[in-house]
C-alpha cells in the first residue's frame, strides 16, 4: 500500500493539474481528518503582510457536544511586550534576540459559523491580555459526530524572524500563521494553551488546501505538494495540497537555489540560500539516511515529499524547525565537513515528521514524547551513519563527539531540577526544558534500549508508533505499550525516570584482594601435632594487602630458585577478593559489572540494582580491574568516571588532556610573542 502511494500521488498530481482539482495523496485516510482547512493567502512582500481567508470544516469526534471553539493566533505572541511569550522569554529564545522594531500580529477581521448555509458572525473573546488564544461561542453547538464550518478572514504582520517564523530581508518563513483550532477533548474541554516561550504546538489532523499568491520571482516551499501554478502580471498563484497533517507551513524567497532529488519514492526538495549552496549534498544525504533508517526501524515515510529550507544568516531564528513535510535546516558556507551539525539538524527535524507529525502528542504538556523520542532516533541515525564517537565532531582539532555524548552533556548539566514529564511552561528555565525534553529523554530511551536490547527496543518502539500514530498519545500510552511489548512491567524502571527527578549513579566503592596466607602454626590433625608450613614462625608477615604481595622466598631457597619459582608461585597464589558496587543514585536499575582478574579471565556479574550495594567475592587470581556497565548500556548514569577501578594507574588520559591544554596555552604565548 505504502509503495503504491508515491505513484498514486504522482499520477494524481498530473491528473489534478489538468482537471483543476486537488490531487488525492492517500486513497485511504491515515488520520481522523476532523479539522480541514481551505486557505487563500496573499503575501505583500514589501510590507511582509499576509492577507488571507480560510474555511475550516471541523468534526466533533468526542462524545460531548461543543458549545464554543478556541483558536490559536500564534503571531499575537509577537504583538507587544504583554504577551505570555515575550514576558516569559524576555525577548530571547535559543540565543536569538527579538527585534523590537518589527513586531508581528495575527488579526482576525471576521469570523463566522456557517449555519444552514448562511454565515453567522461570531464574537471574538480573548481570555486575558495575551491574545494568542481566541474564544468564540458557537452560533450552533456541535453534537458528537456533528460538523461545524467556519469562515475566517485574517491578516498577519510577520515579525522579523524570531522563534521559528517571520521575515529576514526577502526571506519569509510563514509558520503557525493561520487561526488554528485547538483540540476538543470532550469532558476536558478545549485544549488550547497560550503560546508559551518553551512550548510548541498541538492540533488535529485534516486536509489542507492552500492557495498562496506571491511575487512571480519568488520561490515557494510548503507543506504538501504543489499541484497548480498560474502567473498573472507581477504575481503568481500556487495551489498546494496536503492530507493527514495537522499544520501547514510555507516559505517564500526570490533567492532560493532549488534542488530536487528522489529517493525511495520520496521527492526531496532543498531550498538553499545561494551562499550555502555548497552544503546541498549534506542536506540531501542526511534526508536520504533518515528515510532509509526510519523505514528500517519504524515505518516507511508515507508522504510523497519532504522540503528542506535553509534560512539566511539573518534569519537563523527560523532554523531547526519542523512542519509536516517541510523542515528548516541551518548551516554556513564554511561549516567543516568533520562537524556534523547540519546533518544532525536535518535528521532531527525530518524525524519530527514521525513524532510531532504523525504521533502528534500534545507538545504543550508532554514535550518529551516528541522531542525526546525524536532525539533518541536522531542519536541512533547519527551514530549508525557517522560513527558512535564521531557523529557530531569527527576528529576536529583532535576532538571527537558522538550524538549520545552530546545528549548526555545536556542532561548531566541539570539532571535533577525538573522531571521529563511536565507542562512546558512549568520548567524552571528554557535550559531545563531543553535538558529534560531532549537530552534526558534521549538518554533514558538509550538506557531502555540497553536494558531491553536493540532488537526488542526496535520492536517495542515500532509497536508503539504503529498503535498511536494519528491519535494524540500520552505518556500513559507509552508506558502501557512498552510494558506490553517488553513482556514485563517496565513501570518501576521508567516511571521514576519520567516523572521524578531522581538520578542514577553506580560506583565501584571498594575492591580488596587479600593473598591467602600460607598455613602457619601446628597441624593438629597430626599425632603428635607438628608445625605446619615453614619451620620459621611467621615473622612480620602482613595480614594481607590491598594489592598482591610480592612472593616471599622460602629461607632455604636460593635466589635463583626463588626467581625460577616466583612465576610458578605467583600463578598459584590464591587471593580472596571482594568487590563492592554501590548504588549512589536514588533510582534502581539493573546493571552489569565486569570483573577482570590478573590471569586475564573475566566475570560478568548482573545486579538488579536493589539495595544500596552488592558484594561479590572471589577466590583465585587477584582482581585487577572492575568496570560497572562495561558496554555503556546505562548512559543515564550520572557519573561514568566512578564506574571503574584499576589496580594499575594509567596516566595516559590525564597526560593527553594536559598536553591538549598546554598546546593551547603555549600557542597563545607564541602568538603574543609574535606581536611584541
Amino acid at each position: 500500500m505504502i509503495k503504491i502511494v508515491p505513484v498514486v500521488a504522482a499520477l494524481s498530481l498530473a491528473v489534478s493539474a489538468a482537471a483543476q482539482s486537488p490531487p488525492v495523496l492517500f486513497q485511504t485516510p491515515m488520520s481522523p481528518r476532523n479539522a480541514n482547512y481551505t486557505i487563500e493567502a496573499s503575501l505583500d512582500a514589501k510590507a511582509h503582510v499576509v492577507k488571507a481567508s480560510e474555511k475550516i470544516r471541523w468534526r466533533n469526534i468526542q462524545g460531548i457536544e461543543a458549545k464554543d471553539a478556541y483558536f490559536h493566533l500564534y503571531y499575537n505572541a509577537f504583538a507587544n511586550n504583554r504577551s505570555v511569550f515575550i514576558t516569559e522569554s524576555g525577548g530571547q529564545l535559543r540565543g536569538d534576540q527579538f527585534d523590537r522594531k518589527h513586531w508581528g500580529y495575527c488579526r482576525v477581521t471576521s469570523i463566522a459559523q456557517v449555519v444552514d448555509g448562511k454565515p453567522v458572525p461570531l464574537k471574538q473573546e480573548f481570555p486575558g491580555d495575551d491574545r494568542t488564544v481566541m474564544k468564540v461561542d458557537l452560533a450552533a453547538p456541535v453534537p458528537p459526530g456533528g460538523e461545524a464550518e467556519f469562515e475566517v478572514t485574517f491578516e498577519d504582520q510577520l515579525p522579523k524572524v524570531f522563534a521559528r517564523a517571520g521575515f529576514a530581508g526577502d526571506f519569509n518563513m510563514v509558520g503557525q500563521w493561520f487561526p488554528k483550532l485547538g483540540v476538543w477533548q470532550g469532558e476536558k474541554g478545549w485544549n488550547c494553551h497560550p503560546y508559551h516561550a518553551n512550548s510548541e504546538f498541538f492540533s488535529d489532523f485534516g486536509v489542507y488546501d492552500v492557495t498562496v499568491t506571491v511575487p512571480k520571482n519568488y520561490v515557494v516551499g510548503s507543506t504538501g505538494v504543489q499541484w497548480d501554478e498560474q502567473v498573472k502580471g507581477d504575481t503568481k498563484t500556487l495551489k498546494l495540497h496536503a492530507e493527514d497533517v495537522h499544520d501547514f507551513g510555507w516559505t517564500a524567497s526570490p533567492h532560493f537555489v532549488d534542488k530536487t532529488e528522489t529517493y525511495d519514492g520520496v521527492k526531496i526538495r532543498v531550498l538553499m540560500q545561494p551562499m550555502n549552496a555548497s552544503q546541498i549534498p549534506r542536506y540531501m544525504e542526511a534526508a536520504k539516511k533518515t528515510i532509509e533508517l526510519y523505514a528500517k526501524w519504524i515505518w516507511k515515510y508515507p508522504y510523497p515529499q519532504m522540503t528542506i529550507v535553509d534560512p539566511p544568516a539573518d534569519g537563523m531564528g527560523a532554523a531547526g524547525m519542523e512542519y509536516p513535510m517541510l523542515i528548516t535546516g541551518g548551516t554556513s558556507p564554511i561549516m567543516p565537513a568533520k562537524m556534523g551539525f547540519p546533518e544532525m539538524v536535518v535528521v532531527h527535524e525530518f524525524g519530527h515528521n514521525y513524532w510531532y507529525g504523525m504521533e502528534a502528542n500534545n507538545e504543550f504538556e508532554e514535550a518529551w514524547l516528541d522531542e525526546g523520542i525524536n532525539s533518541y532516533y536522531e542519536t541512533r541515525i547519527m551514530d549508525e551513519w557517522l560513527g558512535k564517537d564521531d557523529s557530531m565532531v569527527g576528529g576536529f582539532a583532535g576532538w571527537h563527539l558522538g550524538d549520545v555524548s552530546q545528549q548526555r552533556v545536556s542532561y548531566i548539566s541539570v539532571p535533577d531540577m525538573d522531571p521529563m514529564v511536565l507542562e512546558s511552561w512549568k520548567y524552571a528555565s528554557n535550559g531545563t526544558y531543553g535538558a529534560m525534553s531532549y537530552g534526558k529523554s534521549a538518554i533514558v530511551l538509550s538506557t531502555l534500549e540497553g536494558i531491553l536490547g536493540r532488537e526488542k527496543m526496535d520492536a517495542v518502539m515500532r509497536a508503539f508508533f504503529m498503535e498511536v500514530k494519528f491519535t494524540h498519545p500520552t505518556t500513559a500510552d507509552f508506558l502501557r505499550i512498552v510494558s506490553r511489548e517488553a513482556g514485563r512491567d517496565m513501570d518501576p524502571v521508567l516511571k521514576p525516570l519520567l516523572y521524578g527527578t531522581g538520578t542514577v549513579d553506580f560506583k565501584v566503592a571498594r575492591v580488596k584482594s587479600l593473598s591467602r596466607e600460607e598455613v602457619e602454626g601446628y597441624d593438629l590433625t597430626a599425632d603428635p601435632p607438628k608445625l605446619a608450613g615453614n619451620d620459621q614462625a611467621s615473622k612480620g608477615k602482613g595480614k594481607g594487602a590491598d594489592k598482591a604481595d610480592k612472593p616471599k622466598a622460602d629461607a632455604k631457597d636460593t635466589k635463583a630458585d626463588t626467581k625460577a619459582d616466583t612465576k610458578g608461585k605467583k600463578s598459584d597464589r590464591v587471593f580472596d577478593s571482594k568487590v563492592i558496587i554501590q548504588r549512589k543514585g536514588e533510582l534502581v536499575l539493573p546493571v552489569e559489572v565486569l570483573v577482570t582478574f590478573k590471569d586475564g579471565t573475566t566475570k560478568l556479574e548482573k545486579w538488579d540494582g536493589v539495595g544500596r550495594y552488592v558484594t561479590y567475592k572471589y577466590e583465585g587470581p587477584e582482581v585487577v580491574k572492575v568496570v560497572v556497565d562495561p558496554d555503556g548500556k546505562i548512559p543515564v548514569d550520572l557519573n561514568i568516571l566512578n564506574n571503574g577501578w584499576a589496580s594499575k594507574a594509567d596516566g595516559l588520559p590525564a597526560r593527553a588532556l594536559t598536553t591538549r591544554f598546554r598546546v593551547v596555552a603555549q600557542g597563545l604565548m607564541v602568538l603574543i610573542a609574535n606581536l611584541l
Binding site: G398, W399, G644, L652, T659, M669, V670, A673, L675, L676
Partner: protein, 317 residues
Amino acid sequence: MRWINAIKDGLFCGRRGILGACIFYLEALLLSSLALAPLASGLHRVLDEAPTAAPLARGVGVDRLLETAINQPGLWSAGFGNMGVAFLLHLGLALLITAGATGLIARAPEGSPWRAFWREASGLFFPFAGLFLMSLLLLVAVGILPSLLVAGLGKALKESVSPTAFWGVLSGWVIVFLLLLAVFKGATGFTQARRALGGGAEGLGRCFLAGAKFSLKKFVPSFGFTALFLVLRMATFSGFYWAVAPGYGTAGSAFVSALLLQLAFAAQAYIRVAEIAAQVSYLKASGGAYVPPAERAQPPVETPAEPEASPEELVTA
C-alpha cells in the same frame, strides 16, 4: 634585491638567531607547563585509576570531561587559576627576549652570546616596551577607519545571501587584517631594530617617528615580510599538526604527537627570530638605521684658494 637578501639573512641568522629561538621556545614551554601543573596534578588524581576515563586520551567522551567539572569543580578553577598570572609574566618575558634577540642580531656584540643576549635584553627592555606601546597607538589611529569598514561589511554580509558577497567580504576582512597587521608589525619591528642598531643615542620619540616613517615608506616590503612570515608560521603549524600528528590514542602515538607539536613550536620560535633578523637586515641595507650626527656625511666646505704668488715674491724666492 634588498628585501630578498634581508629574507635570506633572516632565515639564515646563524648561531645568535638559534640562541634567541631556543630561549623563545623554552620560555613558552616552561611557563605553560608550570602554569598548568595544578591541572595536570588534578587530572592525574581524578583519572588515573578510572578505566572509564580511557577514551579521553583519544579526545572522545566530552561528557566525561564535563563530569569532572560537575563533580570536581575545584579541579578546573584551580587548574587554570595560574593562567592569568602566567600570561602577564609571559608578556614581560617575551618582550625581554625580543629585546635580547634583536640586540644580539643587530649589534653582534663580541664575547659570550649568552651574556650578550641578557645584556642587550636588559638594556633594551624598557625602550622596546615604549616602542611597542607607541606602535599600538599608531595601530589604533590607523585602524579606526578600516574597523568601521569591517563592521559595515559584517552588517552587509548578514543581510546578504550571495556567495560572491560572502567570499568577497571574507576576503575583505582578511586583507584589512593583513594590512593592519603589517602596519603594526612594521612599526614595532623597524622601530625596535632602529633602536637596537643605534644604541641609546637617539631619543625614543624620534626613534619611533623615524622607524615608523620608514615602515610606512617601505610599506610594500614591510607587508611582504609580514605576509611571508605569517604564511611560514601557518604552514609550519599546519604541517606538523594536521598532516603528521597521529593522535593520542596510545602512549606511543601520544608521545609522537606531543613531540611533533613541540617541533612545530620550536619552528615558530625560529621564524620569530628570522623575522627580527630580516627586519634588521632590511633596515640597515635601506638606510633606515640611525646615524649619529658626527658620522653623518658633511657637505663639502669651500676652502678659499691660496693667493697666487706675485711676480716679485717669485723673483725674491
